[in-house]
Symmetry: C2
Subunit: 154 residues, 2 copies
């Protein structure tokens, strides 16, 4: 059985008691910028995990896809995401669904961090990175190309 | 395959696009007061579900237990919870873990709503209500008895 702490207090800066701030990725090939990861809930009895990611102003998550889904709630700030070929402007508490095998990336707005909760299956596959050809194909859409240059809001 | 909306916008009042406000319980025997339920994420590909519950000022959830766990993040307001025999004061963004087969209840503070996210396994058992004997046993603890009378904060 897991050792469980039933109550973990929030701190002012979107940190929590007994929750470590972790490197975002262990995969050195992945391109990302200024993003941290905190695992809020992970337990042998839970089929899902709940994590909190925070992207610093101007930062972004890895552009990736995988078989497992993401269920995202924006907890802090504003930004944009790419889901497939759609670029969406995000506000606090918006919900984002990333379907299986769909390219996706999250970017913070300049000037404020973007923090989001992300529910995933505890058992899940590893993310895939786009090949040069796949990236080129994504960039044929001008809105996607602007998003990937960090210019979605202009 | 599920029909998936990738982006659902938040409204000001802790409501969302395409998310219905549901009755809290279908079980008529359950005692509760002034609480609503919204299912934010539920999908055949997700092993977990993410729900948002909102307890109006002075309201409370059902006192219950079950084999499945709850992973809770307070999204709005303040209140108290009972987890086993422990009464905890809750602030916004605090994390609460409800272990298997542990009596639990959430109560809003007078004067403001308590809103919380709750992650559960998609496949889960039905909640159990306390018998008169179990309730009497819980109330032998003065702090628990005060909580159940809605007097935890005094």
């Amino acid at each position: 059985m897991d050792e469980r702490t039933i109550h973990r207090r929030a701190h002012n800066d979107y940190r929590w008691d007994d929750v470590a701030e972790l490197p975002y990725k262990e995969d050195d090939r992945a391109l990302f910028k200024s993003i941290t990861r905190q695992v809020l809930f992970s337990d042998s009895e839970l089929a899902g995990e709940l994590r909190y990611f925070e992207v610093a102003p101007g930062g972004f998550s890895t552009l990736e896809r995988h078989e497992h889904m993401h269920a995202v709630l924006i907890l802090r700030g504003r930004g944009h995401c790419l889901i497939g070929h759609d670029v969406k402007a995000l506000q606090t508490r918006d919900l984002v669904t990333v379907p299986p095998m769909t390219w996706h990336q999250f970017r913070a707005t300049e000037g404020e961090p973007l923090g989001f909760l992300c529910m995933v299956n505890a058992r899940r596959d590893k993310p895939q990175l786009p090949s040069a050809e796949e990236l080129a194909r994504l960039k044929t859409d001008p809105a996607v190309a602007a998003f990937l240059r960090g210019r979605a809001s202009i």
